[in-house]
C-alpha cells in the first residue's frame, strides 16, 4: 500500500535528520537504523514538532521509534 501524505512528510523529516532516503525509512524501526541514536532522536523530535506546530509529551518521546509511530503521534496531537 502506498504511504500517505503525512507518512511521507514525517519520513522526509526523519530522512533529512539521518541523511537517509525517506523511502527506505518508512519500512524500518529505530533499532534497525544505527544512525538513529539518542541525540538524533531528539533532533528528529524537535524537527517534527517544529514542522507540525505540536509538542510531544515527555512520556511519548521514548516510543517515537519509527516513521509510523511518529506519524500516529502527530495525528493524535493534530486531532486534539
Amino acid at each position: 500500500m502506498p504511504a500517505d501524505s503525512l507518512t511521507l512528510q514525517v519520513a522526509e523529516i526523519v530522512g533529512l535528520t539521518l541523511r537517509r532516503s525517506p523511502g527506505e525509512l518508512v519500512r524500518l524501526q529505530r533499532e534497525e537504523i544505527s544512525e538513529w541514536d539518542s541525540l538524533k532522536h531528539m533532533e528528529i523530535v524537535f524537527a517534527v514538532e517544529d514542522s507540525f506546530g505540536i509538542e510531544f509529551r515527555e512520556d511519548e518521546l521514548p516510543y517515537l521509534n519509527s516513521v509510523a509511530l511518529i506519524r500516529e503521534a502527530v495525528e493524535r496531537h493534530r486531532a486534539t
Partner: protein, 198 residues
C-alpha cells in the same frame, strides 16, 4: 574513589554513587536491554556492594548515579576513570540509562562539563564495542572523533570483541557545547522540575 563531585543540568543530575545504590545498579544491569555489550557485573546486591567498596579505594575513578532532578529518582550510571594527570586525559564509560529514560544526552553533557571544566582535563575518550553501532553513532553525532580500532579489546562473557576509541578534546568540546546545551535545554522544558536544591 570516594569523591564529592556532582553536577546538575536542566532535567538530570550526576551524584557520587554510594553503597546504597548497589541494588539499583544490579537492577539496571539486569533490565538494561543492551546486555550483549555490557561487561558482566556482580550479580547480586552483596557482591555489588563489595565491588563498590573496592571502587571507593581506587584513586582517580569517578563513578556517578544519573538522577532526575525533579524527583531524585536514579535513572542510570556513568563513570570517568583511568585518569592520566600527566597528559590530562581520562576514559569515560559505565554508561547505562534505564530503558525509556531520556537522560542519555544530558548525562553525557554533564560528564564532559565535569571532565573539562571541573577537573581541567584536555581529552576524554570512550572505548565502545565495535558492533555497538547505536553508542558509536551517539558519540559521532555528539562530535567525538574516531581515534583507533582496538582489535580484540573486550572480553564479555565467552566473546571477544573489537573496540573503537572515540575522542573529545577540550577544543572540540568548546566548539560543540553551545549546540548540545541548546538541545538539552529545549528538552528539559518539558521535564518537570522541583525548586533548586541547596
Amino acid at each position: 574513589m570516594r569523591h564529592d563531585l556532582s553536577a546538575a543540568g536542566s532535567a538530570f543530575g550526576l551524584r557520587p554513587i554510594t553503597l546504597a545504590d548497589a541494588g539499583f545498579v544490579v537492577q539496571l544491569r539486569a533490565r538494561g536491554g543492551r546486555g550483549a555489550f555490557m561487561h558482566s557485573i556482580a550479580p547480586d546486591v552483596a557482591q555489588q556492594e563489595a565491588y563498590l567498596a573496592r571502587y571507593f579505594d581506587r584513586p582517580d575513578d569517578y563513578y556517578f548515579i544519573i538522577y532526575r532532578l525533579a524527583t531524585g529518582e536514579a535513572e542510570g550510571t556513568i563513570g570517568l576513570y583511568d585518569i592520566d594527570w600527566r597528559d590530562r586525559s581520562a576514559q569515560w564509560g559505565r554508561w547505562i540509562v534505564r530503558k525509556g529514560s531520556l537522560a542519555a544526552l544530558e548525562s553525557a553533557v554533564l560528564l564532559y562539563e565535569l571532565a573539562f571544566d571541573r577537573l581541567g582535563l584536555q581529552m576524554v575518550y570512550c572505548r565502545t564495542v565495535a558492533a555497538n553501532t547505536a553508542v558509536l553513532s551517539f558519540h559521532r553525532s555528539f562530535g567525538l572523533v574516531m581515534h583507533e580500532l582496538l582489535p580484540r579489546h573486550f572480553r564479555i562473557g565467552d566473546h571477544v570483541y573489537d573496540a573503537v576509541e572515540q575522542r573529545l578534546t577540550r577544543e572540540l568540546w568548546n566548539d560543540i557545547r553551545a549546540g548540545v546545551h541548546a538541545t538539552t535545554l529545549r528538552f528539559a522544558g518539558r521535564v518537570a522540575r522541583v525548586p533548586e536544591r541547596e
